[in-house]
């Protein structure tokens, strides 16, 4: 159990809204008021009761006593003390439960965008707070909590009676709470220590000095904090037993609080902005065995299978996208298929999740206009989402997960009397919600007036001596009527007509044609077909009037708005969603035989003309002449490649494609961050690069700091989720960087600002790593568990792996001095440099690079974009190669990665080198550099069947990539591409036509505003070479 709130907290809570001490009500201060003792016993009679999804009690009764449901059923006995309320014709539902209620940020928190934000001062800074202000798991959401009356009212208007309040800022945001949505009273809080710890991937912009300033860093901080919590617990236990053997570990109330959450198996509720963020949370939950909940995002339908496997409870927003702007054909060009499709599918997200058996509750939280919640829910239902499931997702399901099933979620004896009363079936558009009951008290909702002014009326009005008999013709909308007064020959329009909820009615007319120069005003009430009231002439004479409705409004347009029935989207999900995604995963034939090709083996066999390539189960079986396959084989593909060239798949040793986040630049050493945490397998550049023959890429952290983050080597398996594109068994690596980018002055004054300092940063980091490593081994030996264990440090762990030569360094570098510097540092500490990246002055110091067996991964011919590359020359690669360095050409660009084959041609041009040797620069050499040459890089028996079929010599500018295969599976095919592009265009047309003809009103969501993904015209092109570091 979580301990009671600390005294400070109670103090804060109490001054904020209510006096609670251990749930007890303080005695009423007699100086303030006298005791309120109105009885709270009701009999709700004759309603259609839906006690829980799927059940109906026709003409049923409910007895409510002191906040609880005493009984529910037909023809209940009328308790003598119960006040009866006739609900015949009404429907009664369990009150809805809002599972993600976020306190509206106060105005002062809204800072203009782009301003340099200083780290927020901690609200309650004490010595025991966590070092990072974004880590506040010890915070309670009801601290400093003020409830905006408007917010609760908005929710009540939708039928919500209970809410799960969730803290919404920071990374570890604090503990949730459960409250009722009535007026604040001592019992409004159901649980101040709610069921969840809220977590978000929150980070500053790249110019923000506070760690983390990237998604990479946010994930790393989450992981480190969980490890810290585990260590904190262990450390305190040891210290408690052996205080004489240990220095006292510091107090950290954040870690202490987190431990309690972990021990109690409380939920960890991750806020997600897109479906891959959900999978990312799943990885963290798996690592720390968390009870995972997700705040969803509306994109779940894209990865239902993977999301189901998370076995997580999902709190789902009903945020449907706006109609994309397709009004003109030029504007429509700016809209991607991904957006068009999302517009079509999003309203079916809940239904698709339900069909998959994923548990979820619906929330209003992402809706700017909360009123669209019901509108959207009804749309989903109209499109096929079952009413019972819809109802469950706002009642029994949230009750179950929030631990409220005993007291809320259904209408049963003994439960809290939270209900919703409507004037018909909730799922009927015409129905309105009339009231909610919260803790046995009724809250009438502002609703449309009962009275309807429309129709033809005979009105008699008199003033002074005069009595007039005229008629009124009132039309228009119920709440916005318009009309005219017909007085003999004259027809006078009614002005400022009002009709209020308590059936007060008023209007005015210009009296000139009735010899009343000026404005005549009428007001009164309408009861059914009779109205009466008073008025005033322009001359200040009192008017008395009454009217009788003689005919209803014939043009009652009530139903005109009824649109054609919406149907569920028929679109099948593509992997990834949008143009060029796949509906079916590509399959691997058992046998592939490519015949009669010129085969560039890139192995000892060299280039073989008129040869065959045989692939079995994804591996290369043989390269030779006249190969054939047994007719027994079940699935085989034979390709006649006469006149074509076949090469190994191209490998890019420096890429920033397929990642959501590249630089954690807030600190000079961030070895703890990992590209694998932020892979974006949906990046369209994967597909484009496949079309250029690329099969493997080394996704690197950026060059913002001396010791950057951990890399991820991927295969371009288009359509698979992030886990599916990782290159299995590739050696670990990390990005380092030297020179201008890392020493560039930061506004916040980050060390270093010279190449001298860069060296010291690296030496200092490894010195710390050596000490950490020694500590680890000595503690491991240590004294029968009497010593506090070493705190696991993800940053130092990575550095120790480098020291142990288990992690390759890939170092961004340009000038010969800094290259030689790192060679010496590596020799001193005994670590292995996999590659120098860029290494544009490598030709000046090739002997030192060769001496330590490092590779050089360079550009073919880029130069002069910054000062440190004034001496970059296109002879660099060949010169280094001749001096004994393994050289590759990389892209560092989503664009260049599509044509590395002709980059290799530049080695042949400037080398000069043989064509076969030049092509090593983009195949076997990068494979060697990444330590994956046992699997890829050449076409040799036993290696992965990653190969490309080219229309001609791959070094020729006139050749194109026709097919790209990875693991014996075809991921790109020029012919198939031309079919797909046709489909893409047809689909665009159909969806655009559908949007243009759709009467559906705009919803308010704007997914770009929500910062989900790149917009259609955004180029997310990171490159290390840029003058501006982003």
């Amino acid at each position: 159990m979580r301990p009671r709130l600390s005294t400070t907290l109670i103090f804060i809570v109490s001054i904020c809204f209510i006096n609670i001490v251990n749930g007890q009500v303080k005695p009423v201060d007699a100086g303030q008021t006298i005791h309120h003792k109105t009885p709270k016993v009701f009999l709700l009679k004759g309603a259609t009761i839906i006690p829980e999804p799927g059940k109906v009690i026709a003409e049923g009764d409910i007895v409510i006593r002191d906040g609880l449901i005493e009984s529910v059923g037909k023809n209940l006995e009328h308790p003598a003390d119960a006040y009866e309320i006739d609900l015949s014709g009404k429907h009664v539902y369990p009150g809805f439960i809002e599972p993600y209620f976020v306190q509206k940020e106060e105005k002062s928190m809204d800072r203009p965008r782009g301003n340099q934000q200083k780290p927020k001062p901690k609200e309650i800074a004490t010595a025991t707070s966590h070092w990072n202000p974004k880590v506040t798991p010890d915070r309670h959401v009801l601290e400093n909590f003020t409830l905006a009356e408007k917010q609760t009212e908005n929710l009540r208007n939708l039928g919500f009676t209970t809410a799960h309040v969730v803290p919404s800022s920071g990374i570890f945001r604090g503990q949730s709470a459960l409250i009722h949505l009535g007026d604040w009273s001592p019992s409004s809080i159901i649980k101040e220590a709610g069921p969840a710890q809220s977590i978000g991937y929150e980070y500053g912009s790249w110019s923000d000095p506070a760690y983390p300033n990237s998604l990479l860093g946010a994930v790393a901080l989450i992981r480190q904090t969980f490890y810290d919590a585990q260590w904190y617990d262990a450390a305190r236990k040891v210290y408690k037993r052996y205080p004489q053997n240990n220095e006292q570990p510091e107090e950290d109330r954040a870690l202490a609080a987190l431990n309690i959450h972990l021990k109690n198996n409380n939920a960890f509720l991750f806020e997600t902005g897109e479906e891959l963020a959900a999978l990312r949370a799943g990885k963290i939950a798996e690592e720390f065995d968390l009870n995972l909940w997700l705040k969803g995002n509306g994109y779940e339908y894209r990865r239902l299978e993977e999301i189901k496997e998370l076995k997580s409870f999902i709190i789902l927003p009903l945020n449907f996208p706006k109609k994309p702007d397709v009004a003109t054909w030029e504007a429509a060009l700016q809209v991607s298929n991904e957006e068009l499709r999302h517009w079509d599918i999003a309203p079916d997200n809940a239904q698709r999740m339900g069909e998959k058996g994923i548990p979820f509750a619906l929330t209003t939280s992402d809706l700017d206009d909360k009123k669209s919640f019901r509108k959207n829910l009804l749309r989903s239902v109209e499109r096929g989402f079952s009413k019972d499931d819809a109802l469950a997702s706002v009642t029994v399901t949230p009750a179950k997960y929030l631990g409220l099933s005993e007291v809320l979620g259904t209408l049963e004896k003994g439960k809290i009397a939270n209900l919703m009363v409507t004037n018909g079936d909730y799922f009927d558009q015409k129905t309105t919600i009339e009231s909610v009951w919260i803790e046995g008290l009724e809250y009438l909702l502002r609703s449309t007036p009962d009275a309807d002014a429309r129709g033809t009326w005979l009105i008699q009005w008199s003033f002074g001596e005069e009595v007039r008999n005229d008629s009124l013709k009132i039309t228009g909308e119920h709440e916005k009527p318009k009309g005219k007064l017909i007085a003999g020959e004259a027809t006078i329009p009614l002005k400022s007509i009002s009709l209020t909820s308590n059936n007060l009615f008023g209007f005015s007319i210009k009296g000139d044609s009735l010899n009343l120069a000026g404005i005549v005003r009428f007001s009164g009430t309408i009861i059914n077909d009779y109205a009466e009231g008073q008025g005033l002439t322009p001359n200040d004479e009192t008017i008395t009037w009454s009217a009788q409705r003689v005919a209803p409004d014939k043009n009652d347009k009530k139903d005109r708005k009824k649109k054609t029935t919406e149907k569920a989207s028929t679109l099948v999900v593509q992997y990834p969603e949008g143009a060029f995604g796949l509906e079916v995963k590509p399959t691997q034939p058992e046998i592939i035989l490519v015949k009669n090709a010129t085969i560039w083996t890139m192995g000892p066999k060299g280039i073989l003309e008129n040869n065959d390539l045989l692939v079995k189960s994804g591996k290369i079986w043989e390269v030779g002449k006249d190969l054939s396959i047994s007719p027994m084989v079940k699935s085989s593909v034979v390709i006649d490649a006469k006149g074509k060239h076949v090469t190994p798949g191209i490998i890019d040793c420096h890429s920033h494609s397929a990642a959501f986040s590249i630089n954690e630049g807030s600190q000079s050493v961030t070895a703890e961050v990992r590209i694998q945490d932020v892979l974006n397998s949906d990046d369209i550049n994967i597909y484009r690069q496949l079309a250029g023959g690329l099969t493997t890429a080394n996704i690197l952290h950026g060059s913002a700091n001396s010791i950057g983050g951990q890399n991820a080597v991927i295969k371009l398996r288009w359509g698979l989720p992030p886990d599916g594109i990782l290159f299995e068994g590739a050696p670990k690596g990390i990005k380092f960087a030297l020179g201008e980018n890392v020493k560039r002055e930061r506004s916040w004054g980050r060390y270093p600002e010279t190449r001298m300092g860069v060296e010291q940063v690296i030496r200092d980091a490894f010195t710390a790593a050596v000490e950490y490593k020694n500590n680890l081994s000595s503690r491991m030996r240590g004294k029968g568990g009497k010593l506090i264990p070493v705190r696991r440090d993800l940053e130092l762990d990575a550095l120790v792996e480098i020291l142990n030569r288990e992690r390759l360094v890939h170092c961004h570098s340009y000038r010969q001095d800094e290259i030689l510097m790192l060679v010496r540092v590596a020799q001193d500490f005994g670590f292995k440099i996999g590659t120098f990246q860029h290494v544009l002055e490598g030709y000046k110091i090739a002997e030192a690079i060769a001496e330590i067996g490092a590779g050089a991964s360079t550009f073919s011919d880029w130069w002069a974009y910054k000062y440190e590359v004034v001496d970059a020359i296109p002879y660099n690669g060949p010169l280094m190669e001749k001096a004994g360095v393994v050289v590759s050409y990389n892209s560092d660009s989503g664009e260049l990665a599509r044509r590395l084959n002709t980059e290799a041609a530049k080695a042949a041009k400037y080398g000069p080198m043989s064509r076969a040797d030049a092509f090593r620069f983009v195949t076997i050499n990068p494979a060697i550099q990444l330590g994956i040459d046992n699997k890829v890089g050449s076409l040799e028996k036993g290696k992965d069947a990653d190969f490309v079929i080219w229309s001609g010599d791959p070094l020729s500018m006139y050749s194109v990539c026709e097919q790209t295969w990875i693991d014996g599976t075809k991921y790109f095919d020029l012919d198939r591409d031309s079919e797909v592009r046709q489909k893409v265009k047809e689909e665009r047309n159909q969806l655009i036509q559908k949007i243009l003809t759709s009467p559906e009103e705009d919803s308010q969501d704007d997914s770009f505003k929500r910062g989900r993904r790149r917009g259609p015209n955004e180029v997310e092109a990171y490159s290390c070479v840029g003058g501006e570091l982003q």
Partner: protein, 440 residues
């Protein structure tokens, strides 16, 4: 501290920026290149042909040359190929040295309306980038100002010469205008709402129109000035510079890529009655009929660029020239004004388009004859024809193939120094590894 660093930087840069290549002297005697394959571009290739040039001008192109002056230098080019020099159709060559070093950037003047600034006067003939670019067969560069709304006038520069005046082939080539973005731009975290974007766009267009209105008022008043002294108007450098544009003597180079930019720029040009050339032209092929109707050519930038829209075919930029060619548009291919250092790869933009369907001869024209036509210099360069400048290159094969070597260049008949900064460093460090015994 910062200033101090900058000063040092300036000194270092100035010191290292004078290139070692010596500009060539004027052609002293006639030269006959013979026994080679001549690719005039404007006509069929001539195998085993000869080309004669004198005083910088081509005096003959033939299968068999029978007459040549006595003092002619005859060069036997057995197996080699002769092509017209290639043209960087839009660039900032000479106007910048190191992209990331602000003090070396001279292409973007402060302010939004700068029709009077002239590119040629800021062209640094000793830029290291010039010989490096030239070594791969690029003999001419269109050097363009790029800043603000009206950027200034550009010039066609020959990539050789002691001074910018000697290097200038044509100036002004035209006036450069950046058409504003027509929709909300979403770039990384930089986001502008539709409303703000519309506001900004309207403001820009207003400034543009008012500049042209003022320039017309200026021209009108000036024309009314008969010299009698009755009507006198002071000289306004800005509007004076726009007179050739208003008289349609030179075009406006309209930098516009996205379809709505192009459509509105065409409408504007018709309204303003000026000649325009679309530069950038990402979506030009989508409005080919419109551009054809008004005879507006396109300098297409970035064959080797990513599709700008997620849903577009992967080869959209590769195939754009083909689509313009098929539609009968006047176009050429360029690497653009984004940076100066990579223009040596201009031919490979053309062959990339060829690999995705553009006929090879078209690809070659797209970096020789077509840019010459669009830039208004086809009477001098762009093809090998009698009477044109002897600005040509000698290669061992198709210059659009990377593996081909450019062996010699002539610019207006001058024999160009083929060395450059890169070759110099290459020679120096080859020597290092010889000394170390690493290579032979």
């Amino acid at each position: 501290m910062r200033n101090y660093v900058n000063i040092i930087l300036i000194i270092v840069i100035n010191y290292s920026f004078a290139s070692d290549q010596v500009p060539a002297p004027e052609q002293k005697h006639p030269i006959l290149l013979t026994n080679c394959t001549i690719h005039p571009v404007s006509s069929e290739e001539i195998r085993g042909g000869s080309i004669l040039f004198e005083k910088g001008i081509i005096t003959g192109v033939a299968r068999r040359m029978v007459n040549w002056p006595e003092n002619t230098e005859i060069i036997d080019l057995k197996g080699k190929h002769v092509y017209p020099g290639m043209i960087a159709a839009a660039s900032v060559i000479g106007l910048t040295e190191i992209g990331a070093v602000a003090v070396t950037r001279d292409f973007s003047e402060r302010g939004e309306v700068n029709p009077n600034v002239r590119a040629e006067v800021a062209y640094n003939p000793d830029s290291e980038i010039i010989p490096v670019t030239r070594s791969n067969g690029i003999t001419l560069a269109h050097s363009c100002p790029t800043g603000g709304i009206i950027s200034g006038t550009s010039a066609i520069m020959m990539l050789d010469g002691w001074t910018w005046e000697k290097a200038t082939l044509k100036a002004p080539a035209g006036l450069h205008i950046n058409w504003p973005n027509m929709g909300a731009v979403r770039y990384r975290r930089y986001r502008v709402s539709e409303e703000d974007a519309a506001k900004r766009r309207e403001e820009t267009l207003k400034k543009l129109d008012s500049a042209f209105d003022e320039a017309r008022r200026y021209l009108l008043a000036k024309q009314a000035d008969t010299g009698s002294g009755i009507i006198q108007h002071n000289k306004d450098l800005r509007w004076e510079a726009m007179v050739p544009v208003l008289k349609k003597e030179v075009p406006v180079f309209m930098h516009a890529g996205e379809i709505r930019q192009i459509i509105s720029a065409v409408e504007w040009a018709n309204r303003q009655n000026v000649k325009i050339v679309i530069v950038g032209g990402y979506d030009a092929w989508r409005v080919a009929d419109l551009l054809k109707k008004y005879e507006i050519p396109v300098i297409y930038e970035g064959v080797n660029s990513l599709p700008r829209r997620r849903w577009e075919d992967f080869d959209t930029p590769f195939t754009a020239p083909l689509k313009m060619y098929e539609a009968g548009l006047k176009y050429c291919i360029s690497m653009g004004t984004g940076g100066a250092s990579n223009h040596r790869n201009t031919p490979y933009e053309a062959s990339k388009a060829a690999s995705y369907g553009l006929p090879k001869e078209e690809a070659l024209k797209s970096v020789t004859l077509y840019p010459a036509e669009i830039l208004g210099i086809a009477d001098r360069v762009g093809s090998l024809e009698k009477g044109k400048d002897a600005t040509l290159i000698i290669t061992d094969g198709d210059p659009l193939e990377i593996t081909t070597q450019v062996e010699q260049i002539y610019i207006q008949g001058k024999t160009i120094d083929m060395s450059d900064h890169h070759k110099g460093l290459y020679a120096k460090y080859k020597e290092k590894y010889l000394q170390l015994g690493k290579t032979e």
